[in-house]
Structure formats: C-alpha cells, structure tokens
Amino acid sequence: MEFSLDEVEDEGPNRAAQKKVGKDAKEEGDLIEQLAAEKEVEGPEEPVPAREETVEEIYAVQQIYALRLKRFEIAPSAAFTVNDKYLRHPGFGVAANYWFTNVLAIGVNFIWYDWGNPLERGTTLVEQIQRSFRLGVPINEWQFGLWANFTYVPFYGKFSMFRKFLFQWDSYLIGGVGVMRTKPIPVFDPEIREFNWDMQVSFNVGIGLRIFLTRYLTFFTEFRDYMFLEKFENVNVDPANRDDPSTWLAGSSTFFNNLTVQFGFTLFLPIKFEYRLPK
C-alpha cells in the first residue's frame, strides 16, 4: 500500500469534522483551535480526533475524621436497667468489635450484674405492693450476659458548639444473640426453695451514639433491649409437695425486655493509621 498527498487531501468525514470543530472552536474562543483553524493547510495533516466539550465540577470535601476500617474497638461501659421497677440491675460491661468495613463491625459484649445481695437493690415499690395489696413480686437476679453482635453505622455527622468547636459523632444500630445467666430469688417459700443459675438464650437490639474525643478515643452511650425468656418463681406453694423442686418454678416462661442505658468509652486500635487517597 502506498500513501500519497491525494489520499490525505481527500475530504472524508473526518476532515469535515475537523473543519467543523475548528469553526466551532473559533466561535467559542479556544485559542489553540483558533490558531490551528486559521493556519493555511500546506501539507499533509494528521487526522485529529474529534474533541468534545466537557465541564468539570470539582468539590472540596473534608475527609472523614476517623475511619473504623480494619480497626479493633474495645469499649468498657456502665449499664443501667431502666424498666425494672422492682430491682435495680447496675452492670459493668466491656465490648470488643472488629470493623471489617468502615460501617460494619462484628464483635462481642459482656455485662456483669452480680454485685452482692440483690435484695439490697430492691425498690420501695416491692414493699408497697406487699403491704398495700398483699401480693408478692417474683423477682430474678442476673449474673451476667454475653452476646455476639453486628454493628452498622448509618448516621455520621458533626456538631459545632457556638461556631467555635467542632466535634464528630456517629449513630449506630446494633443487634445480636447470646445468653443471660439468671436465677429466681426465693420470695414465696424462701425457707425451702433454693434456685441455681441457669442460662437463657437472649437477643438484643439497640441504637448508640458515639462522640469522637480524638481519632482513637470516643465517648458513647447506647440504648439496648436485651430480650430473653425468663423463668420466675412459682407464686403458688403446694403444701403437699413443698419439697419437690419441680413445683418451684412457674409453669411458663415470661418474655422479658431488659431495657438498658449504657455509658462508656471506646478505644480504637491501632491508634495511628494512614489515610489512603484514591490515585
């Protein structure tokens, strides 16, 4: 195959497009195209690819203050049950999570509830019910709870305080499954009845709020509902079978919601990390 000037001077569709582009460029004030279009063609020209007008918008976006991806989280906390009117259940908890994405974590949390004599943590309402209505209140004590959880962070935000200080925070959803170790406190026949600790399957869901104090230390508060089927003491005492342990527990289980507010701190490990920018 031979190339000649006739070939390049042949005005094909590309050539027409070139001229049109040159004309448009002149109208639109593109200096380089304008100069190229005004120049007389004296020799063979290389075919120029058709140009398209592009408009780019560039946004400056502040990067996320603290990433969670591939970090461990250790979170000690204090837990307070808010819906048990008869017995207070203060707890000390600790949670450990691993963030496998920036918004998803898997982990465990543990709460210890067994602090001394539980009857010393009873409210005045128990006394009032016994005195005014001649009713006993079956109550259970808890030893600990242990759950495996997933955490998801759908909300992320920042707050300013008086337009001077900025702090970052997020809100997360949490849920999982585990066990609660509980036992009834003998109230109706305390001379005879004695109960052992027993494990109950427990589910939990909750919502939390985490405020970043630094990139590795946060303060958090959670509202969790630890749900389980609780076995209470049988309120009836059968004089004929008083010593029979099979009559000591209520016939059916009671679905119990342990609504808990937790406060604590979170430590992210490693505390230092590198922000990788897209290339």
């Binding site: 502040q62 990067q63 996320i64 203050y65 603290a66 990433l67 969670r68 991806l69 591939k70 970090r71 461990f72 808010v82 819906n83 009117k85 963030w99 920036n102 005045t124 309402l125 009032q128 019910i129 005195r131 005014s132 209505f133 001649r134 009713l135 759908p154 909300f155 992320y156 935000g157 920042k158 707050f159 300013s160 305080m161 008086f162 337009r163 001077k164 200080f165 900025l166 990139r215 490990l269 490693p270 505390i271 230092k272 990390f273 590198e274 922000y275 990788r276």
Partner: protein
C-alpha cells in the same frame, strides 16, 4: 539434657509471656493500616476563619410551632397518651423561650395495675389501700393535662449524613422551666372501726368497707420543675422533626394507697397529702416543627 528448676522455668515462662504481650501490644498501638483520617492544616484564605461559614440560622428571630404526640414512661400504675403543642421563639440561634401544653386523651393501665386487679388481696390490715381489687384501676392517680414554660438552650448544632446519601441539619435543644400538671387522685379519707368491728371510711359517711371512698376522686394542679433534651432535625427551611425527653418530678399518690402519716410513720389510717411520694415523671414527645418566617437566613 539440662534440667531446670521449676522456679526457673516459671520465671522464663513469665518473661516470655510479658515479652509477647509487649510485642503484640506495641504492634496494636503503633502499627499502621490503610484506614486513616487526614490532618487538616488550614492555610490560605481559610486560615483564622470561624469554624462554620454560611451558617444557617434555624432559630434566630424565628418562631417554631410544634404539634406533638407524647407518652409518659416509667409509670407505676397508669400511662398517659398526650396530644399537645409547643411554641418557641429564639432571640439568638442558641437561646430562646417557649411554652407548651397538652391533654391526655387516653390513660392506659400498666401491667402492675392489671396484676393488682386480678390478684390483689383485701384484708382488715390493708382495707384502706385496697377496698376492692376489682375497682383498683379506678383508684389510681391519672394525669389529665399539662402545660409549662421553658428556657431553651441550643449549644450543639451540626449536620448529619444518613446512609451517606441524605444530609440534613440537626441540633440538640436543652431546656429547663416549670410545669403545671393537672392530676386526678383518690380523695382524702380515713378509716375507722365501728363498735361491731366493721371498718368504715369517712367521708362518705357509713362507707362500709371503704368501697365508696375508693371511687371518690379529687383534682388538683401540681407544680413541678421541668427539664429535658430534644434532638431536632430539619429537612426543609421551614420544617423539621423533634424527639424530646422531658422530666417533671413532683409528689403525688399514684396508687391511691395509705403510705405514710404526717410524721413519716406508716400507716396512719388516712389517705391525704402525707401519702404523696416523689415520682420522677417522664415523657417522650415526637413532634413536627414548623418555622416562621419560612425563609431562612445565613451568616457570612
């Protein structure tokens, strides 16, 4: 083979364990991963500028109207469902005053009230507190209406991303003030023993077994401090939502029972103001915020 004493072996073991912990711990504390955040060093035209520019003034010199639905929480015997409204005017973006009020359209019995109704036992020792278990739901205290005035303090405000797609402004509104609560309680009464041993309550006269006094009601207005916090989110320049927790503790006789005498002794055979016990009353509001004027202003 060299034999080491048990003590020596245990020392070596402890040393190795401590060294391992230090190595692993050091790795955790100082190791680097690809996850990170940036260090912002502001230079150029943004240096020394305020933390927020073009700040939207959601509250300053604006009136907020908030119809709400509310319910009381943590009640012993009766839970109130309330419809109401709130009006707030803010002189500054972080400081304002407001008034609120609402009426209870339904009072729900708690599980404890149902348990007493079904299983309560009346004897001569507790006849004044529980004349009849069937009528117990009619002797408990109820909230009828409530109103109050507050000072609102909004130091924290910002923006929030939801699922990294929806963005809106939000703030935390702290408030403190006074509340006036209209309540219905069991009327004052006292129990006496007739010569024939029958227990009577007075008033009403000749109320055998106190059955009449159990249903006698009296109304009053309780004055209480009121305080709480709200999360407010704005979706339009003139509209948003608020989730509000409010506490208004005061003394009242929620169960209609004989709890104490004038000197704190128990029981004194009378139901009166001495039997009122301090209750940490709380409610949760969910409201829609409408803001006037609808056009919002921004700072420089």
């Amino acid at each position: 083979m060299m034999n080491l004493a048990r003590k020596t072996l245990s020392r070596i073991g402890i040393t190795v364990a401590v060294a391992s912990c230090l190595l692993v711990g050091d790795g955790l504390w100082s190791g680097t991963h690809s996850a990170s955040a940036q260090e912002v060093h502001v230079t150029g035209p943004l240096a020394d500028k305020p933390a927020v520019m073009k700040l939207r003034l959601w509250r300053k010199n604006r009136l907020q109207l908030e119809p709400f639905f509310a319910f009381t929480v943590g009640d012993d015997y009766s839970r109130a469902l309330i419809f109401g409204g709130e009006v707030r005017f803010s002189f500054l973006d972080w400081l304002g005053i407001g008034g609120w009020g609402g009426g209870s359209f339904v009072n729900l019995n708690t599980d404890l009230t149902r348990q007493v109704r079904d299983k309560g036992v009346t004897t001569n020792r507790n006849r004044l507190s529980l004349p009849s278990r069937e009528n117990f739901p009619d002797q408990v205290g109820r909230m009828n209406w409530m109103a109050g005035a507050d000072v609102h303090f909004t130091p924290f405000r910002g923006k929030l991303a939801m699922f990294q797609k929806v963005f809106f402004d939000a703030d935390l509104d702290f408030f403190v003030g006074a509340a006036f609560v209209g309540i219905t309680e069991r009327s004052d009464t006292s129990i006496q023993v007739a010569p024939d041993g029958t227990q009577l309550c007075d008033p009403p006269a000749m109320d055998t077994g106190c059955l009449g006094s159990q249903l006698a009601r009296s109304k009053r207005v309780a004055i209480a401090p009121s305080f709480g916090v709200a999360f407010q989110a704005y979706f339009k320049e003139f509209m948003g939502i608020a989730i509000r927790w409010r506490a208004f503790p005061f003394k009242w006789n929620t169960g209609g029972t004989d709890e104490a005498g004038p000197d704190g002794g128990f029981p004194d055979g009378q139901i009166n103001s001495s039997d009122r016990q301090r209750q940490f009353n709380q409610m949760i509001n969910i409201g829609f915020i409408f803001v006037l004027p609808p056009k919002i202003k921004t700072t420089d």
